[in-house]
Subunit: 149 residues, 2 copies
DNA sequence: AGTGAGATTTTGAATCATTCTAAACAGGGA
DNA sequence: TCCCTGTTTAGAATGATTCAAAATCTCACT
């Protein structure tokens, strides 16, 4: 069972929602509490299951709504920005991707080995990485970074 | 219309497939050619549309198969590893994610500001990034990086 | 207490990418 | 030729997410 929000967390929720002109609702409180009480990067469905324990009538759509709202006002992060169709590229050199928020286009960004190295070094001992994925989200003024390679 | 593979590209295809005991087929040639001829990170459906121009009978399932095969033998990269359900986390501090391939669990990895800075610096002029997403895929020996925060 | 506007929630249907299944097919030995 | 195995195909099935419309709630104003 999910415990209630602390005074501090409720205030935080209240303020963040207020900034985008939205209100605290019982559903939002429960969903937020779920997120805070077990920080294991739950899926929407997991949040739904857990939240239902304290609010049985809660609907899945509401969980989607709440999460979208939270992400919108910066209370919560989405682990997987890129939920559109998978894309493929034959560029095998290590590189990052830049998704232009305006056009949806994806550009390759060259990745210096030094950076790759320093990234690997931030992993705590015991963590072995096979692949690193780096993607920027933003806006590109000009044309292509790597026109067509 | 997609041009044929160059001698060199066909050899590359042939060898890579051979390594995992697979064969070159007309369908695979076409799909590979599509990938090489316009490097704009197409979705499966875009690949399908383009490939159909030179091979009208081609089926969508085959495109999925080919792409999976190519990724499997390292010929092609998938831009979006994480195609499972979206996950959410209330950790707003800048951090990377580490997905344990064995358990599917996602761990937070602290991200030193210096690294974030150097990452931003690799963007060519004109590219303005609002968000950076970094995720490792690999195996974790021990327990959690950030047990429950 | 009553009314109305607007936001929020609910239910269930719809969408869309992806995967699965089963049948047809292709090609290379025995 | 006949089988064996890998590949392709069409269409059904799955699963996450979104949408639409009706019901409900909140709160300001009366």
């Amino acid at each position: 069972m999910i415990q209630n929000l602390t005074e501090h967390d409720r205030e935080n929720l209240q303020e963040s929602l207020a900034k985008s002109g939205q209100k605290v609702t019982p559903q939002r409180e429960v969903v937020f509490a779920v997120l805070l009480s077990k920080r294991d990067h739950p899926t929407v469905d997991e949040v739904f299951q857990r939240a239902r324990e304290s609010m049985p009538g809660l609907s899945l759509a509401t969980v989607y709504n709440c999460l979208e709202t939270f992400v919108g006002c910066g209370l919560v992060r989405q682990v997987n920005h890129e939920r559109e169709s998978t894309r493929y590229c034959p560029n095998l050199a290590p590189h990052a991707h830049f998704r232009d928020a305006a056009t949806g286009r994806v550009h390759d960004i060259e990745l210096p080995p030094a950076i790759l190295q320093s990234l690997r070094s931030i992993l705590p001992p015991g963590f072995d990485s096979e692949a690193i994925e780096i993607s920027f989200l933003g806006r590109a003024q000009g044309g292509d970074a790597h026109p067509t390679l």
